[in-house]
């Protein structure tokens, strides 16, 4: 997984302190929250309102795949619907490409959704009366694009997801995995910059799911799209996401790269979550290495790796060469050493015993 250089890229979705409160008295509840700082439980008790999303702030940058991970009821599906205003926020602002979407009128909002934000659903929602091609062309059809043009675009999108031979079929003739590919092709046909993925692979069996995860990541990167990806599966979030936000009870409790979350969980809840995650491909050499000075033996004879090499690669080096340690080098300069002991604690998820100075 190449690390996407997204730190400096343009912010496409800027979600600022967004709240969503459901219930008949949500207006009063919101006032009570802002004025008196009421908690979720108190809001439920006093106003019989449910806080779906609570003070969520996140930024999605161009070219980035941003995962929102949470269990059912954590508010992740509500949050993703706030991003294209399928749900109106109770409080806070969502900027898409710098524009506050709350200020858009109906026509401008339709334009925004049609051209800039595609969406893929867990239920797929393919229109059963239409062929695969007609489904994939749906977005352009409602934009009034001519039949020839939209069918060409739909065919191209279906080719990208490997369904060129199925264009004339009906959705009911396709397997679940193929249907979800059509859903993805439908979102791609309109060529939006942002794709919202609402647990798209959750209903698929594990093998197909992994395959689609890899394909989705590859395709999104190749096409330079940005995506917000909702999932309840941390493994999936780690496989797909450049950055991950973890949600619980409507609150984003941690945002970071997979490595940051696994190495430095924000609280016990996240720690419990990441406990079972394999570190092999997550943790990089620079997180577990010790300063070269602490290494007793000779540095010259050691196999060399880059600071971005993951634990799996380091273990490979050590087992192949029979050496006891790997020198971590940036160019010609050795910046640190990873010993077998460091690798073992890395696999367990502990950071380097003495924090590497020049990481």
């Amino acid at each position: 997984m190449e690390k996407a250089n997204t730190d400096t890229a343009e912010v496409l979705i800027d979600c600022q302190s967004v709240w969503k409160v459901f219930g008949d008295r949500s207006g009063e509840a919101i006032r009570a929250i802002t004025e008196r700082g009421l908690s979720k439980q108190q809001v439920l008790q006093d106003y019989n309102c449910v806080v779906g999303v609570s003070d969520a702030t996140l930024q999605v940058r161009r070219g980035e795949i941003f995962c929102i991970m949470g269990l059912s009821g954590s508010g992740k599906s509500t949050l993703i619907r706030l991003l294209n205003r399928l749900i109106e926020p109770s409080l806070g602002k969502v900027l898409v490409k710098g524009q506050d979407i709350a200020t858009l009128d109906a026509a401008a909002l339709r334009q925004m959704r049609a051209r800039h934000i595609g969406m893929v659903f867990q239920s797929v929602a393919l229109l059963p009366q239409r062929t695969v091609l007609e489904n994939a062309a749906f977005g352009l059809e409602v934009q009034g694009v001519s039949r020839d043009e939209r069918n060409r675009a739909a065919e191209a999108a279906l080719a990208k997801v490997g369904l060129s031979d199925w264009t004339a079929r009906y959705p009911s003739e396709l397997s679940g995995g193929m249907q979800q590919r059509v859903g993805l092709a439908r979102a791609l046909t309109s060529d939006p910059e942002i794709i919202l993925m609402d647990e798209p692979f959750s209903a698929l069996d594990p093998l197909i799911r992994r395959q689609l995860q890899d394909e989705f990541r590859q395709l999104t990167k190749d096409l330079g799209k940005s995506a917000v990806f909702i999932t309840h599966d941390l493994d999936e979030a780690i496989r797909i996401g450049d950055r991950i936000a973890i949600m619980k009870d409507g609150v984003i409790i941690q945002t970071g790269t997979a490595e940051e979350i696994v190495m430095d969980p924000a609280d016990q809840y996240v720690a419990d979550f990441v406990a079972g995650i394999s570190r092999l491909h997550l943790i990089k050499a620079h997180s577990v290495m010790i300063p070269a000075a602490e290494w007793q033996g000779a540095v010259d004879g050691l196999p060399r790796c880059s600071p971005e090499a993951d634990i799996d690669a380091l273990i490979g080096q050590i087992t192949e060469t029979g050496s006891d340690a790997v020198a971590i080098a940036e160019g010609d300069a050795v910046v640190g050493i990873v010993t077998i002991r460091n690798l073992l604690s890395g696999v367990r998820g502990d950071a380097a015993p003495a924090p590497a100075a020049a990481a």
Binding site: N84, L86, R115, G118, A125, L127, F138, V142, Y170
Partner: protein
């Protein structure tokens, strides 16, 4: 005493209102009658132009095309049997009545049902009215109609239209209302206009329910057209009514058989037409 006086006053008011209508709005009801009878005469004229065996042949071909070969052959044979019983003109009159009444009923109830499906308040307002129409004994509608439109097919048509409308309205509204949530969301997320939401998403999902409503309306229309024999509707209903008065059991049974044949034919044909085309399974 008090109570019965009140009731008597109410009855007098209803009577007076009806008289007032027939006195002052006669031109309006004459116009209605001309339109209704025109539609009926047109349908009947079409059905009576070809000889009976051509109509039977065409119906058989239609049945073959829409339902299947066995049904097509059966329907052709059954229509020939109607002719053999000497009831061909009456059978065609009844068919023309049902067709004319259904066209009017659907022209009103399909748009109304769509509106009710889109507007919950209209739906709530319509529901008690439809309940009332469906609970009252159907021949009730013959009385005001005969007062305003006179003896004949126009009265039969009005009563039939009233009875035939509720199922189509209800099932159309239901079909429009129960578009699956995820498809509404798909439409919104795709950026469809309200009109596109209706034509491209809500309506296709409502088609099976609407077709069931049309089928039910046709069946209701058949029931009413026979009852309307009392007011001189013509057709098989009047044949049965006459046979009952003279205790002519054989003729009443013949006419009943002809009605069953017509009913089955239209029922199966509309159900067959409602089935989705090959491949487009839901």
């Amino acid at each position: 005493m008090e109570m019965s006086a009140l009731i008597a006053r109410f009855d007098a008011m209803v009577d007076n209102a009806l008289f007032w209508l027939s006195d002052h709005a006669a031109f309006l009801f004459d116009f209605f009658r001309i339109v209704l009878e025109g539609l009926y005469d047109g349908a009947l004229w079409l059905l009576e132009q070809p000889p009976f065996y051509v109509v039977a042949l065409l119906a058989g071909l239609l049945g073959w095309r829409i339902v299947g070969r066995g049904f097509g052959l059966g329907i052709a044979a059954a229509l020939l049997a109607c002719a053999a019983m000497g009831l061909w003109p009456e059978t065609m009159e009844t068919l023309a009545l049902v067709i004319a009444a259904s066209i009017i009923a659907l022209a009103i109830s399909l748009p109304l049902g769509v509106l009710a499906g889109l507007m919950p308040r209209l739906d709530r307002a319509l529901t008690p009215v439809l309940d009332l129409i469906q609970t009252l004994p159907p021949y009730i509608y013959l009385l005001p109609a005969i007062a305003l439109l006179g003896y004949g097919p126009a009265t039969a048509l009005v009563a039939t239209v009233i009875v035939a409308m509720p199922p189509a309205i209800r099932l159309t509204a239901l079909g429009i209302r129960q578009t699956p949530r995820e498809f509404i969301e798909l439409g919104q997320a795709t950026g469809v206009t309200p009109a596109q939401m209706f034509w491209k998403i809500r309506l296709p999902f409502a088609v099976p329910s609407i077709m069931a409503g049309i089928n039910q309306s046709l069946m209701m229309a058949f029931g009413m057209v026979v009852i309307a024999g009392i007011v001189g509707s013509g057709g098989l209903g009047e044949t049965i009514y006459g046979a009952i008065r003279t205790l002519d059991i054989a003729t009443s049974i013949d006419a009943s058989i002809a009605i069953v044949i017509l009913t089955m034919m239209l029922d199966r044909l509309t159900q067959g037409a409602a089935r989705p085309r090959n491949g487009a399974r839901t």
